[in-house]
């Protein structure tokens, strides 16, 4: 297998998708210190809801938007019913509770759709000619959408009032409370937007991936790896982390099997953490 422009395009698409998933995780982890093990299952839920919506005859793009809203709703329910009570009790219980939620989501989906995979038709089937290579247009659109989403979130976080509230609470929760910010609402907002991002990413990758009840595990591990290898300093460091994980993995996939490339990425991550324990793109 040679290395050409096609591989480069595959790499940037993979990076874009992983970055969207991880930014959702980063908001939840950075804002509330919650290790959300159900994040991958939110991706899975997004993919399955797009399956359901398109089966109902709704246009794919509209279905993707609906899926994001639906997963946001699930995120809201999860926050209000479970996670809300656990902020005080610490890391282990939130992590285990979200893992439990993940199991419940997986099993529910398994009971409804069965353990076998589902698929969604690619909404844009045309090919685009890039430098002499025919490349599926949908993947390019996917990449551009990811860039738009990331830029949008970046501006929301940096320029708007809501973003300011989120960043303040992230930096120092007690201080934020003292200034009269209702941190409870900020947490709820953070969890919902994180889940919505995961759901949207799941809906967008649905046409080009195998949809199965256990697909979330792959995403949750990858995005946690991104967070620790890139650092949790800012959104940009998580995007940098996505470059490391998805970039290297897709790159090595061109030369060797999936397992070997994953192990190679792990070795790279371990070496990177050996040199820069706080993450490659952290300031310290």
């Amino acid at each position: 297998m040679g290395f050409g422009i096609e591989n480069v395009l595959n790499i940037i698409t993979a990076i874009g998708v992983l970055a969207v998933v991880t930014v959702g995780l980063y908001i939840i982890l950075g804002l509330m210190q919650v290790i959300n093990m159900a994040h991958g299952d939110m991706v899975m839920l997004g993919a399955y809801s797009v399956v359901t919506f398109t089966k109902m005859g709704i246009n794919y793009w509209l279905a993707a938007l609906f899926s994001a809203f639906f997963v946001a709703l699930v995120g809201a329910i999860v926050e209000l019913c479970v996670v809300q009570f656990l902020y005080k009790t610490g890391n282990l219980s939130t992590m285990l509770a979200t893992w439990g939620i993940g199991i419940v989501l997986q099993q529910t989906i398994k009971l409804i759709f069965g353990p076998q995979g589902e698929f969604v038709d690619v909404p844009v089937t045309s090919m685009i000619n890039i430098m002499g290579i025919e490349y599926p247009a949908y993947r390019l659109i996917l990449f551009l959408l990811c860039v738009v989403i990331l830029v949008g979130i970046f501006f929301i976080l940096k320029k708007t009032k809501a973003g300011l509230l989120v960043r303040t609470t992230m930096d120092n929760r007690i201080m934020a409370q003292a200034m009269g910010i209702n941190t409870k609402n900020v947490y709820l907002f953070g969890f919902i937007s994180g889940s919505a991002l995961a759901g949207l990413a799941g809906a967008l990758i649905a046409p080009i991936t195998n949809i199965s009840p256990l697909m979330g595990l792959d995403y949750v591990t990858k995005s946690f790896l991104v967070v620790i290898s890139g650092g949790v300093d800012s959104m940009l460091s998580t995007i940098g982390g996505s470059f490391i994980i998805a970039g290297f993995q897709t790159f090595f996939n061109g030369f060797m099997g999936a397992t070997n490339s994953w192990m190679t990425v792990l070795v790279i991550v371990i070496i990177a953490l050996w040199v820069r324990p706080r993450g490659v793109f952290s300031k310290k």
Binding site: S93, A97, F224, I228, W262, P277
Partner: protein
């Protein structure tokens, strides 16, 4: 309490039928595994999301070695050494960020997943997704003296003796100076440093001990089930262990041990009847338990007991 448990296990060993002994031995092995995770999390505050890594490693090495009819006396130490070396490498990388829980845990999680895939893809060595099947029970040969553990009853006693030995060592360990240093580590790392301990070294030691016990548990298990399969490395098992610790109450050793045993026994009895919904129900129960009883099942039992006692005192 420990002696009572030991006597109970021994009596059961003489009366129970053989298939039940295998079930019970499996439950005890997972109990020890849970106790080791409690030693790591409940005492030292180290959350390991990849403890199944060592469990699977022990199972695979033992399974491969026994099928190649290697001497268990050589096999067990070599598997232990491999696990300890791996744990030291992961520990060194993961613990460098001071006071960060998530770092080490997540690295462990990723590496477990890598090993699971590796176990599936290295077909020649590991048997792919089927795993290593038909692992025989070990025969310890010692200078011409053969100790054959191929009968389930004998193997059960072997498991009980080894597990109780490990449990006893853990119990003693948490009451030594080292054990108290661990609790200090959980509360305040900087204070521990001022007392002359090196936090990184303490953490790596704890991790190595946990890894050794987990791998020993894996080695014990593979001879009963006769099979080492990829999901022994899985995230699911690593998380289950933490669930047992959380439900049993952290920092008690015996609580997670008992909870793990109960859940394992009930799983092997119930999951065949409610095949599809068993995991769903366990997940739901678990989420509710984490919210309602953050101190574990025995913690809430204690609270109820105290409440009853208080009302009795008020009435009299």
């Amino acid at each position: 309490m420990l002696i009572g448990l030991l006597i109970l296990f021994l009596i059961v060993g003489f009366v129970a039928p053989e298939y039940l002994l295998d079930l019970l031995a499996t439950a005890v092995i997972f109990g020890v595994f849970a106790a080791s995770a409690d030693f790591s999390y409940g005492y030292a505050g180290i959350m390991n999301l990849g403890s199944a890594l060592y469990f699977g490693l022990g199972a695979y090495i033992m399974g491969y070695g026994l099928k190649a009819s290697a001497n268990p006396f050589l096999l067990i130490p070599s598997a232990l050494i491999v696990s300890i070396i791996l744990s030291l490498v992961i520990g060194y990388v993961g613990f460098r960020v001071k006071a960060s829980q998530t770092h080490f845990g997540l690295i462990g999680l990723a590496i477990t997943l890598g090993f699971e895939q590796l176990a599936i893809s290295l077909y020649g060595l590991t048997g792919g997704s089927n795993g290593i099947t038909n692992v025989p029970r070990p025969v310890f040969s010692f200078f011409g003296l053969d100790l054959d553990l191929s009968s389930p009853t004998l193997y059960y006693f072997y498991v009980i003796v080894v597990s109780m030995g490990i449990f006893f060592i853990l119990w003693r360990l948490v009451n030594t100076d080292f054990g108290r240093a661990l609790q200090a580590l959980r509360h305040d790392e900087t204070k521990l440093e001022t007392m002359g301990y090196h936090p990184l070294k303490v953490k790596m030691t704890v991790n190595a001990i946990t890894a050794a016990i987990a791998s020993l548990a894996g080695m014990l298990l593979v001879c009963i089930s006769g099979i080492a399969y990829p999901s022994l490395f899985g995230v699911g098992l690593s998380m289950s262990v933490l669930i047992w610790v959380a439900l049993g109450g952290t920092g008690s050793l015996i609580g997670p041990f008992i909870i793990a045993m109960i859940l394992k026994l009930s799983e092997s009895m119930l999951s065949s009847t409610f095949e599809n919904s068993y995991t769903l129900i366990i997940g739901l129960v678990f989420v509710i338990m984490v919210i309602v009883a953050p101190t574990g099942v025995f913690g809430i039992g204690k609270k109820i007991f105290q409440y009853i006692k208080r009302t009795e005192v008020e009435q009299s």
